[in-house]
Amino acid sequence: MLYRESGQFSTSYLAEGRLFKLYQQRWGFYALLAFAFLAVPYLGNDYWFSAILIPFLVLSLAGLGLNLLTGYAGQISLGSAAFMAVGAFAAYNFQLRIDGMPLLLGFFFGGVTAALVGVVFGLPSLRIKGFYLLVSTLAAQFVVTWVLTQFGWFSNYNSSGVISAPPLVILGHDFSSPAGRYLLTLGVAAALFWFAHNIVHSELGRRWMAVRDMDTAAAVIGIPILQTKLLAFAISSFILGIAGALWAFAYLGTVEPHGFDLSRSFQILFIIIIGGMGSILGNFLGAAFIVLLPILLSNLSATFLAGVVDPGQLENLQKIIFGALIIFFLIKEPAGLARLWQAFRERSRIWPLRF
């Protein structure tokens, strides 16, 4: 709208396929990255890092993981938190049991373990579809939590099953301050978002969407359905696993298996419903919404309803509002907040014309 598109055209398919075709968008994006990496650590305070930015980033990442599976590949899942738990506990154990395991490599192996578990619970997806698949993901949710609490080995025989973060040191730099944990989370999230973006814009992403939109037709044109679905489970769980490790180590510091219960899975599902299924940007929007709304509500009630509503009621109120919002979005904007942004972008591209 305010920037000129004219004169920016592609002379190769490679250039045509890039993320931001316009240089203004590219520079805007780089500026945003620079701001997040360079300016925010100096501008933010501990409250912002610990209570808002880190959970926001981790939840965006978890939303991304689920979005790949549900929004892109069309396989609905209620077991996201289980894969986060696997990632967290696996990363913990890799760190604990292998001497000198670098932190990020531990995260990576945590993600890989989650991916393997994801594949196991994704296997039924060839034979069963839709709601029936919920059973498989719910089984993952319950089995994983049970296994992690039942067998002390996973939490190094901690009496309450709690695991604590290893020292957050990468190449000699300590990342355990709030700003450091923020940077660690941001770095991992940026890398994984880049990774996921590339996937959904590649052949694999197209196959996922084909399976999502009509799997019979996908099979007829030669798309290997099982392999495509399993890759969705694996990559989705990989990202969820790393999100889980970050949740445990960069956000909470300590976590028990029940920190990854069914309501966490619901929370992640809500992120992608509100943010937008089948959208990369939507994960950020949905996560921001989920993180900020409770804060907003408690601030509002502290200001206007001080003494009238007790905290327990506030939680109930929050539940009602979330539920209502979910329904509202499904009715009014099934493609979520990302769709609103996209509509705005499309309109502003042709502004001041209407169509």
């Binding site: 190769s12 398919y13 490679l14 045509e16 396929g17 990774f195 590339n198 996937i199 590649s202 052949e203 694999l204 197209r206 196959r207 969407m209 084909a210 999502r212 939109d213 009509m214 019979t216 037709a217 996908a218 099979a219 007829v220 044109i221 030669g222 798309i223 290997p224 359905i225 890759l231 089948g278």
Partner: protein
């Protein structure tokens, strides 16, 4: 049109929950011809297409394709062998753009792995460009350039039919199965679609088996007509032969047209 047939159906029977859909059907399709399957609704035409590309396994009979015989063709195997198809009720990926739909048609031609594509290494760059170019050629062939980036779910019906043909063509098939490619079109659109089908056969050498109700279109388009009625074959030959076949006239041409 001499030589071994490209497609050979031998004694195909198929039933759903005990109801016979197709009974003992045999016919052959020569390399490079356009073969039309005609017959009233419920005659088993779509079921037959579904047998050919492996959506339904036949109860009895064999499908011969390109010199090999199959008891049951898997959908994926059919695609690998070079059989592409379109569906009666348009089976496009509605949430994807025209270009992406056509690109999915090329999924079997992709050489690079998903990791190469994700990290832009190895064969990815040349592969992506190559697939895109091939898809663009199909888009150009079918004159859908201006809708390249439109989401197919938002396009009018006739265009969706064209995009679906495009997705099938993108796989560079040897055999193209078209299930009522002109259903619900006006005469102008039908003529256009007929042109595309003829060009596909002539320019690309693709063998076509199609189901169509418009007898005028069928007679003008096809080299070979197979007539079905209540799951049985009642006629098989050139359009002229079929037109003169009394059984066909009684079963089909006489009654519904």
């Amino acid at each position: 049109m001499a030589g071994a047939p490209l497609l050979e159906l031998q004694h195909i029977s198929l039933s759903f929950k005990g109801v016979k859909a197709v009974t003992d059907i045999s016919f052959t399709v020569q390399q490079g011809e356009i073969c039309a399957l005609i017959g009233p609704n419920g005659a088993g035409k779509s079921s037959l297409l579904n047998v050919i590309n492996g959506v339904y396994p036949p109860d009895e009979g064999m499908v011969g394709f390109n010199g090999n015989s199959y008891r049951k063709m898997q959908s994926h195997q059919a695609a690998v062998q070079g059989i592409a198809r379109t569906f009666q009720n348009i089976a496009l990926f509605k949430g994807m753009s025209v270009l992406d739909n056509v690109l999915t048609g090329r999924n079997l031609k992709v050489k690079s792995s998903w990791l190469e594509q994700t990290f832009h290494i190895g064969r990815a760059a040349s592969d992506i460009a190559k697939q895109r170019q091939k898809a663009e050629e199909v888009i150009d062939f079918l004159r859908i350039n201006q809708w390249r980036n439109s989401i197919v779910g938002t396009l009018p019906y006739g265009l969706q039919k064209r995009v679906e043909l495009g997705r099938a063509l993108a796989s560079e098939p040897r055999l193209l199965l078209l299930d009522e490619p002109m259903a619900g079109m006006n005469s102008e659109e039908k003529a256009e679609m007929s042109g595309f089908i003829l060009d596909t056969q002539r320019e690309l050498g693709t063998t076509v088996v199609l189901i169509e109700h418009d007898i005028g279109v069928v007679m003008g388009l096809s080299d070979h007509v197979v007539v079905l009625d209540y799951g049985r074959k009642v006629g098989d030959g050139t359009p002229d032969e079929v037109r003169r076949n009394p059984e066909v006239i009684a079963a089909y041409l006489g009654t519904s047209h």
